[in-house]
């Protein structure tokens, strides 16, 4: 007769991820598998799962907890029946972005891109787009931390093509 006392069979497998700065994170397997980059690491190599440490070269440990939190919550949202009300998802997403600087947001976009997870990447890129809506060119440059490398003549020509789009915007 099967015993229900075996706790080891119901225990969720954990996978160890190593952030770029060397810090280790123990993550439940289904959460780790949200990341295509981690998933592909194990393709054809399933037995090795327990012992191996997956190096995540482009992800800072600063952002790992928030990113893992996003995966855990969103996979729970997806599985839940009936689906969660839109307000609940919206509230989580807004709280996720709160207090994140533009710089942190961009770093997380780079991380999501490296981890190859569409849902997180879509969410973060949309957040970035929202932050530059109805803003001046100077603001957008500061947002991305980029330099203006157009010659004055080039820039004047670009602006003249659609002069209407460049006046009277939010500088801050």
């Amino acid at each position: 007769m099967a015993s229900s006392s075996s706790s080891s069979s119901t225990q969720v497998k954990k996978i160890t991820l190593k952030a770029a700065d060397g810090k280790h994170f123990e993550v439940e397997e289904p959460v780790a598998m949200e990341m295509e980059t981690v998933k592909s690491f194990f393709v054809g190599n399933e037995d090795a799962m327990k012992d191996m440490v997956v190096p995540l070269l482009n992800v800072s440990s600063e952002h790992m907890p928030a990113i893992l939190d996003f995966y855990r919550n969103h996979s729970e949202f997806r599985k839940r029946t009936p689906p969660p009300p839109a307000e609940e998802v919206k509230a989580f997403n807004e709280a996720f972005l709160e207090n994140k600087s533009d710089e942190q947001l961009m770093e997380m976009i780079m991380a999501a891109n490296f981890l190859n997870t569409k849902e997180l990447l879509n969410f973060l890129t949309e957040a970035a787009a929202n932050r530059i809506k109805n803003k001046s060119v100077e603001y957008v440059r500061a947002f991305f931390g980029i330099e203006n490398d157009f010659t004055p003549e080039e820039e004047a020509r670009i602006r003249a093509e659609n002069e209407w789009a460049f006046d009277g915007l939010d500088e801050d």
Partner: protein, 401 residues
């Protein structure tokens, strides 16, 4: 904790593109392109991902800016001036606006499509190619056009009459700059209540037989033109078959009574009928008391496809409708800041025929469906002078292609 510096000036091109694809407003896209060389070269010059844009209100011509045309942008809450000599002329009439392209008539037989953003221009077949125009002769001054009535009688029209009253409105199936320019145009003719159509590249206009009197409004949706008559009956016209005659079927709804003008709007999966009620007002201009029409309210109905009847709609929810001389438009207010949901933004598309005699401003505003109240459009120039009245304002969607 060690902080690793991520250099996102080295943002991969595909990420730059992903971010720009989340930009939904064309002006935001243009500014993104103007930041630096790398960003500019990473994204398409003309975006193809943009959803329908919030229309601008093309304002009447002012005498101080002869070649510059003013447009009010509800999103940015300001007026843009575009260098647009093609449209900026007191002899021109806007006779429709679809997918960002204006239909312009002047005191010539030419029917011109103009994209005010790109200044791209396309000719539709000229006025003398309509089947009910028998002949055209520049030298018959004052009676340049000879027309034929339904009964076969001949009558004459001059250049200005043809510009102002021959065509009520022209709508396009799609933007001439998209899908290889495979668009179809449909014109509502005032004289006979006929609908006429042409495909891009046709040499002349053809009458859609069987759709006469469905001349209140026309829209295009999913391969078909829908035209409505005074009583709310809808003619569904398929003019896509090359070489074929137009196929017309009629949705005979119970007669809608009341209302002065009917508009059709395609909104999500629904076909809406918008009924406009006008009231007569007594205007007190110094020296010249006069009567003017003014919109007092709207009613909205949705087509019940099973029962083939119009059902009253009490709320548009998040939707906002734009009607007038333009191809009617429905958008989600939540996509655009400063846009009031459950409202109808309307312009004057009936009094232009006698613009010489009309005083005061045009009949335009924002009608709230839930409260029944009317607010003025935020941009409407105050203290209008008569010289600012022509041409009447029209909604036009900024569209780069």
């Amino acid at each position: 904790m060690e902080v690793i510096a991520v250099d996102w000036t080295e943002l991969p091109p595909e990420l730059i593109q992903t971010i720009t694809e989340r930009l939904t407003i064309y002006s935001d896209y243009l500014r993104f392109q103007a930041t630096c060389r790398r960003f500019r070269s990473s994204v398409p010059k003309s975006p193809s991902h943009l959803p329908p844009q919030l229309p601008w209100l093309m304002l009447p011509q002012s005498q101080s800016h002869q070649s510059r045309q003013a447009f009010f942008d509800l999103y940015a809450n300001r007026v843009h001036f575009l260098h647009l000599p093609e449209a900026s002329n007191h002899c021109k009439r806007n006779c429709g606006s679809s997918h960002g392209w204006l239909v312009i008539l002047d005191e010539t037989p030419y029917v011109i499509l103009l994209n005010p953003l790109t200044r791209a221009k396309i000719h539709l077949p000229p006025l003398f190619t309509f089947p009910n125009v028998v002949s055209f002769n520049y030298f018959e001054v004052g009676r340049e056009y000879t027309l034929s009535s339904l009964g076969g009688d001949r009558f004459y029209r001059n250049l200005r009459q043809m510009r102002d009253s021959f065509i009520k409105k022209i709508v396009l199936s799609s933007s001439p700059g998209k899908d290889g320019g495979n668009f179809i145009a449909v014109a509502i003719l005032n004289q006979t209540g006929d609908l006429a159509y042409c495909r891009n590249g046709d040499l002349g206009w053809s009458i859609i037989e069987g759709a006469r009197s469905y001349c209140e409004d026309v829209i295009y949706n999913n391969g078909l033109f829908y035209a409505v008559d005074k009583g709310g009956a809808v003619a569904v016209c398929d003019v896509s078959g090359v070489g074929d005659l137009a196929r017309v079927s009629v949705i005979q709804t119970p007669m809608q009574l009341g209302g002065d003008m009917q508009y059709l709007v395609s909104s999500g999966d629904e076909l809406l009928l918008v009924t406009r009620f006008l009231g007569l007002e007594f205007g007190f201009e110094p020296d010249q008391p006069h009567l003017i029409y003014r919109t007092i309210r709207f009613e909205v109905f949705r087509l019940d496809w099973n029962g083939m009847q119009w059902e009253r709609v009490r709320s548009l929810g998040d939707k906002v409708l734009f009607i007038g001389e333009n191809l009617s438009l429905s958008l989600s207010a939540s996509d655009f800041p400063r846009c009031v949901s459950d409202s109808i933004y309307y312009t004057d598309d009936y009094s232009e025929g006698n613009y010489d005699d009309v005083f005061g401003e045009h009949d335009s505003g924002i009608f709230s469906l839930c409260s029944g109240s009317i607010e003025p459009l935020p941009c409407y120039p105050q203290n209008l002078h008569c010289r600012l009245q022509w041409p009447p304002p029209i909604w036009v969607t900024p569209n780069p292609c």
